[in-house]
């Protein structure tokens, strides 16, 4: 519940005494920065935001909130696309942005210890001169934090070959909602294996609902000896989608296999001037990496597959700069959408890879049904779709249609035996779909796991599972905004 005036005036000085005056934000106008994340359909400011500088300050803040029975909401850079850090019912946001250091890099054991607020790309930047990298590379990697990546088990284009966050986090320090600090998984300076259940694995992807992660031990990998980035240019999405299926079916696992459809190609071209053909139906970005020697025969094989699927052309990036530009276009594609529409809503459902052609047809039909434009730029190799449903928030009917189109697409992912989220998480956005993908028993077991970490359910409440209080307020708000 939002705080009363007296509760509030008591709380602020105490938070300030823990973290310093400048690190507590509580004026209404300043709190607006924290009223939403990159999912902008809902806006709910917290009562206060506190920016601790180390684990003991986090502990002290959490104990204070525990004693006052206040909700705590962890926040990294606020790049979540599903409303994962919304203060649905008020509470204290614990922002980890000041805890952004790389504490230790151990090349011999291929590990790096970082604070939870460390920006994803800073890890790779810190180790690449020695030939290492941190593999998960979400498109927001220049802004998003490792702690946020842990919360949503983030992916990225290169996770097709290398896996997602859970495959690259060895261990983590977490302050539980009762104020006790625990270490899950491999300890810094300790051996990789630990005894018993994989609690680190259980906590990754828990959307900040188990506790506040403060430090993370990452696995570093050796950068591949070389890589080859190709652009397959197709007349239609159908042809490109069948090429994706054929590449996977041929037993080739590229480092990345991404698709952009015509609308996205046009927006990206206008923004970044790469030289994409504006009349192409779809483009596949196919990246192979590994030992230099093996790459040429695989490249030939992929070119053959693309040509068999009527590719107009398969271009190979000629230089590092060209490769970097291709990835800039891909990773900043969402940013180029501003040229097409004032607002967009994106989904990240997953379908079995062989169903991609059917799914793309369904998205097209959905766009026609609701008279909306839905460009697509997505992780085709993983079956992880990203339809960008364009709308103008000033047009209330369009907002309603956009939400409905998103729901239809998620429903289809479930019908195809897939999942409602591949990397963005459930947040507040997809709560209503959980009971379509999971049975009451499945959800009950998840709730048991949550209560193991947070018996009072005060940590990032009202996410993932519908709760009584949230249902009423939230549905109302949703209807109003729609």
């Amino acid at each position: 519940m939002p705080l009363s005036g007296k509760q509030f005036t008591d709380l602020i000085p105490q938070l300030q005494s823990i973290c310093g005056k400048t690190n507590v934000i509580y004026h209404a106008d300043e709190l607006r920065v924290y009223e939403c994340d990159a999912y902008t359909l809902e806006k709910m400011p917290p009562d206060a935001v506190v920016l601790p500088g180390n684990t003991s300050e986090v502990e002290a803040v959490i104990k204070l909130c525990r004693d006052r029975n206040l909700a705590i909401i962890p926040r990294g850079s606020g790049t979540s696309l599903s409303g994962g850090v919304l203060a649905v019912d008020g509470g204290v946001v614990i922002g980890l942005s000041r805890m952004n250091r790389i504490l230790d890099v151990d090349f011999r054991n291929r590990r790096a210890l970082v604070e939870a607020g460390c920006i994803n790309v800073h890890v790779t930047q810190a180790v690449q001169s020695e030939g290492y990298l941190y593999a998960p590379d979400p498109s927001s990697q220049f802004a998003c934090t490792i702690g946020g990546n842990v919360a949503t088990n983030s992916g990225g284009p290169h996770t097709l070959k290398y896996g997602v966050t859970t495959n690259h986090v060895l261990g983590m320090e977490m302050v539980l909602p009762d104020g006790e600090t625990v270490w899950l998984g491999t300890q810094p300076g300790g051996p990789e294996d630990i005894d018993g259940c994989d609690l680190r694995g259980a906590a990754i992807g828990s959307e900040g609902m188990f506790g506040i992660v403060t430090r993370v031990l990452l696995r570093l990998i050796k950068a591949p000896q070389s890589c080859k980035t190709m652009l397959g240019i197709f007349e239609s999405v159908d042809d490109a989608a069948s090429a994706v299926s054929d590449i996977i079916a041929a037993g080739i696992i590229p480092a990345a296999l991404e698709m952009m459809d015509q609308l996205i190609i046009q927006a990206v071209e206008e923004a970044y001037k790469f030289g994409f053909p504006l009349d192409a139906g779809a483009v596949l970005i196919i990246e192979l990496d590994g030992q230099t020697t093996g790459l040429s025969s695989l490249t030939d094989q992929i070119q053959d597959i693309c040509r068999n699927k009527q590719a107009r052309e398969v271009r190979i990036a000629a230089s590092k700069e060209e490769r970097a530009l291709i990835w800039k276009c891909r990773k900043r594609a969402f940013g180029a959408i501003g040229r097409l529409s004032p607002n967009y809503l994106t989904q990240d459902g997953v379908v079995p890879r062989s169903r991609i052609p059917e799914m793309m047809k369904f998205i097209k039909q959905t766009a026609e049904k609701y008279q909306l434009r839905i460009p697509n730029v997505f992780h085709a190799g993983d079956g992880n779709i990203h339809p960008l449903i364009l709308f103008d928030e000033k047009d209330k009917d369009q907002v309603k249609r956009a939400i409905q189109a998103g729901h239809d697409i998620l429903g289809k992912c479930i019908d195809f035996g897939g999942s409602i989220s591949g990397e963005h998480g459930i947040g507040v956005e997809k709560v209503d779909f959980m009971s379509r993908q999971f049975s009451p028993e499945d959800l009950e077991a998840m709730m048991k796991l949550r209560k193991t970490f947070d018996p009072d359910m005060r940590c990032n409440p009202d996410k993932c599972f519908p709760s009584a209080s949230r249902c009423i307020d939230f549905t109302l708000k949703k209807q109003i905004s729609a």
Binding site: D106, R108, N109, R110, G131, N153, T159, G163, T166, E180, V182, W183, P191, E192, D193, I194, D195, G196, C197, L199, G201, A202, G205, S206, K222, I248, G251, I253, G290, T293, G294, S297, V350, R353, S354, G383, N384, G417, I420, S421, G422, E423, G425, I426, K430, M434, Q437, F438, E441, D442, L443, E444, A445, M446, K448, L449, R450, K451, T452, F453
Partner: protein, 319 residues
């Protein structure tokens, strides 16, 4: 007590009697759960019942040129359920990871009799909490795994195992470090003192084992680069049998250290036979005086997990 189940009803009645007698279910056999439920080669995924042995599963997958990329010992006896619950691994874990990296979905029966699913059948999925991984290494303490879905790998076109004898611990560490820091991408990096096939009777010398997998072109190229670092000879994984079938039938001890500490640790073992996963820091040996304990999970969480998932304590102890 031992649970042997041909049907789900057998599990229910075993739970019932465990609740009545207060005896814990400490060993699980699922002879009635051995079916391959689906295999989609075009998606590189498969779902299998937990009672099937890993070997039988791999044989079925191999018909489509695919496999579950784990290689624990005794796959002919190891069931899929035990693979997950015991979290066992083999020498190729350096390049391919352990079972947690490949598990994408699971069906299990909990102590209260409810049947739950977690994850799914697609390779990327963050919907809901990751109960699949909670069950990895849980040793039957939270529930009984009935089915598991995995992401699969294509079987590599070629695999090459190379061995090299070293003369001193300094040389060993230098070479291991050079391999770890090189451009090579080994799937396997072991260290042992079991001799070579020809000199199997004489222990004492250490051997560094490096394995490569991929296209023929790739493995050949890597083999060549490795030989530029230091001369290696093409060999086999036969040393693993020499460790397993040794004079003592006792279960080997397992110690875990950081990879950088492997050489120092193995030196302390003296003439005791050992096989070490040098890239991961896991050492199997027969010296009980050196039995190293693994770090444990936070007790506060284990206690709460057990009391929420198995309040009557009918399943194995948790760790």
């Amino acid at each position: 007590m031992q649970l042997t189940a041909s049907h789900i009803e057998d599990i229910e009645s075993a739970f019932e009697s465990a609740r009545e007698t207060g005896a814990r279910i400490s060993s699980i056999h699922l002879p009635g759960f051995q079916k391959l439920l689906d295999h989609h080669p075009e998606n590189l995924t498969a779902t299998v019942e937990a009672g099937m042995t890993l070997q039988a599963f791999q044989e079925k997958l191999s018909t489509a040129g695919q496999w579950l990329a784990v290689d624990p010992p005794n796959p002919e006896r190891l069931t899929i359920g035990a693979l997950i619950a015991e979290n066992v691994s083999g020498p190729r874990r350096f390049g391919l990871g352990t079972v947690r990296e490949h598990l994408i979905g699971m069906k299990a029966v909990l102590a209260d009799g409810s049947i739950i699913r977690s994850g799914g059948k697609v390779v990327k999925n963050v919907a809901g909490f990751d109960i699949c991984r909670l069950f990895v290494g849980s040793r039957g303490s939270l529930g009984i795994i009935l089915e598991a879905s995995f992401r699969l790998n294509p079987l590599p076109e070629s695999e090459m195992i190379m061995g090299c004898q070293t003369q001193s611990s300094e040389e060993t560490e230098d070479l291991l470090e050079a391999i770890m820091k090189s451009d090579l991408n080994p799937m396997l990096l072991d260290l042992h003192n079991l001799g070579t096939e020809e000199q199997s009777a004489s222990y004492g010398y250490w051997q560094i084992m490096v394995g490569f997998a991929g296209t023929r072109e790739e493995t050949q190229a890597q083999m060549h680069s490795l030989n530029n670092l230091n001369p290696f000879k093409v060999t086999t994984l036969d040393y693993l049998n020499r460790f397993g079938n040794s004079d003592s039938d006792a279960t080997p001890e397992t110690t875990a250290v950081r990879p950088s500490e492997v050489v120092e640790y193995c030196e302390q073992l003296g003439s005791t036979k050992f096989v070490a996963r040098a890239g991961n820091g896991v050492i199997h040996h027969h010296d009980s005086s050196h039995a190293g304990k693994l770090a444990r999970n936070p007790q506060v969480l284990l206690d709460r997990l057990k009391s929420t998932f198995d309040p009557k304590g009918i399943l194995a102890e948790i760790s």
